[in-house]
Symmetry: C2
Subunit: 175 residues, 2 copies
């Protein structure tokens, strides 16, 4: 388990608006639920940004989906470590001890076709298992290892709070 | 971390062939990569079964996607614990100590509309965070907690083995 105060953001390269809406929405929901601060989406997709804005208005927190035109300059100017998720990389667990936890971490998720230079540009190429995987699952497990699965009270600004329940649904609504 | 010898299978209820193909494929890939033995898919979807058969032929292991017409009798005759993933449930970490690790575990993933009786029929209703989440991410984290993320050599029968690499791609092919 990592440091809860570590700032982690996510960069998704090669999103295909219209083709990937549900998958990228799942990626965004997983990033938010697992404590990432931002999803930088290249190219941008207003439908996904708005969907996550709606989630934020109801469930609180600071997570946002921000559109990005050009990922190369964004990645090279990132002020900390970048971790590119790929089944070809090193074991995540072996790379993690070399990630400084005082600088922000950028987790990079490729799309259908990963630009080859990404393998050179990322600080580390890391694999969550060396098997064909879902990038949504790989992202969630990486965030779990970096900052731990969030527990406890809902994020600030939540209008809706789910109360844990053995059976059925309990929702607290703040007006 | 759980027991590597524990048998875990996944039940996906309410798949919509044609509408959910990529998402359910990701669910299946995550289930396989994280060590589940089966995905029982209700209703069945030959395209997804065949996609995962292709993965199995190349990357080995015993994972299969099996079609299921009726989930209620399947769930009630399950010989061990069932864990229904829902944001309304108990904390996964609080339920886990009550899961006997000598019986097989069934992780149940609802679709777009979760049948209300599922909340009564499952042994435990469990949440991975109480936030809107991706079921792909929630499944992967649950499998990580139950059996641990698989490491080490590829599963038996693999024709392709990915060799961990700091840069680029290294693939060992067995003919």
């Amino acid at each position: 388990m990592g440091a809860q105060s570590l700032r982690v953001e996510v960069l998704r390269i090669g999103h295909r608006p219209g083709r990937d809406p549900r998958l990228t929405t799942h990626l965004a929901l997983a990033a938010r639920a697992m404590g990432a601060a931002r999803l930088h989406l290249q190219p941008g997709d207003p439908a996904i940004t708005e969907h996550l804005e709606d989630v934020r208005r109801r469930f609180g927190g600071e997570f946002r989906v921000e559109p990005l035109k050009e990922w190369r300059s964004f990645l090279t100017s990132w002020p900390g470590t970048s971790l590119h998720l790929t089944m070809y990389g090193e074991d995540l667990d072996e790379a993690l001890p070399r990630v400084p936890l005082k600088e922000p971490v950028l987790v990079v998720v490729g799309g259908a076709k990963v630009p080859p230079e990404l393998y050179r540009m990322a600080t580390h190429n890391v694999a969550v298992t060396h098997q064909p995987h879902s990038e949504v699952a790989a992202l969630a497990l990486t965030l779990d290892r970096l900052i731990g699965t969030p527990r406890g009270p809902p994020p600030p600004g939540a209008r809706l709070e789910i109360l844990p329940s053995a059976r059925g649904k309990r929702v607290l609504e703040r007006r």
